[in-house]
Symmetry: C2
Subunit: 213 residues, 2 copies
Amino acid sequence: MRESIPPATVSRLPLYLRVLGEMPKAHAMISSEQLANVAGANSAQVRKDLSYLGSYGVRGVGYDTVQLRTQIEMALGLSADLVVAIIGAGNLGSALANYKGFNDWGFSVGALFDVDAAKVGSQIDGLAVQPMSRLEDLVASAGVMIGVIATPAGAAQEVADRLVSAGVTSILNFAPTVLRVPEEVQVRRVDLSTELQILSFHLHSGRRSASAG
Amino acid sequence: MRESIPPATVSRLPLYLRVLGEMPKAHAMISSEQLANVAGANSAQVRKDLSYLGSYGVRGVGYDTVQLRTQIEMALGLSADLVVAIIGAGNLGSALANYKGFNDWGFSVGALFDVDAAKVGSQIDGLAVQPMSRLEDLVASAGVMIGVIATPAGAAQEVADRLVSAGVTSILNFAPTVLRVPEEVQVRRVDLSTELQILSFHLHSGRRSASAG
DNA sequence: TAGATTGTTAATCGATTAACAATC
DNA sequence: TAGATTGTTAATCGATTAACAATC
């Protein structure tokens, strides 16, 4: 036990964490069935997922919500206080910088960058906008581990290259483009078009099967 | 052939579309190997994915990029010109409203809403901000098929309920909360915390295996 | 023809889930 | 003890991929 949590499970752990966070504090125990209902999963899947963290459930009773949160946070490495840099201080970058949920999970925004000289020096949510020229030195001095790219598509690859050169190995890419990075670098893409297109498929195929049935 | 494209394939089709869109126009043919390299996939997987669309490749040559785009767009139902409503005109909602990529794939923003009376009536990217009271009638009159929730977490469930009542069956949720909706409603979540937590896991486990090896 | 690449099969791999003994 | 729920096994299901005949 305890080794190699499968990717599918890793991607569901944040969801469980969110559900636990939204529960009333009084609710001290939760069953796999309840958790599954809220998370939209199967109870056997929930139990299997949680079993990778160790066996902290109580038979006949359920899981202690406080302990479960702690176990999931440990598994995800959230105790480390990871420093994030946001590149791009437009609407999207500002929305990300303003997002309070960062701190809830032990992340902090170490630096915010923009190419626009007019924005540099201004404050967004108490954070000074830095010039792109300072990317490398601030990544180093702030100990940035994760780069969040919130630039237009055209600038994203160059920003990614600079982040990688500066030693960043985890990138969250909000720009609508496919980044090329060395294979040791983890990239996660968040893409509005992709999401809309997947919804479009379901609308499309749903409509088809509805008219068929 | 042609029936029931598996979910894993559906979720990769937008990526192929993006790669095709980023290619130089002159490049008339592309092989599954090339597409796989850029998309970060296996060439057999690419061929299998594309085979669900029908057999439009040419043996010994590859796929016609223009035809392939058309086939993928048809499979995803992107010819339909889907109307999107954005709820929340803060930084995130504004970023989404400003996003030009919508139109590239046949989506259009039919309406943009906000609770803040000070914002209502102002224009964002040529789009008037509407009061929440008009949600139902504008969804109906504009023919909104997809609701994009860009509100704070606390408002998201109520907005979702109103969208569902108004007949919307596809929701893209940017608010950091888990929505409860009837099962016929498709919800896709885009969650910053989730993405960061998954990156955190890889940093965490990568560091562990690096120190082990 | 020789070289290249598709489309598809079949093997493999991994994820989901039903079922139930263990046990609170 | 009776009822409930976990942890885990084994069956099932689905996704990935190596391999290769088909064929441009």
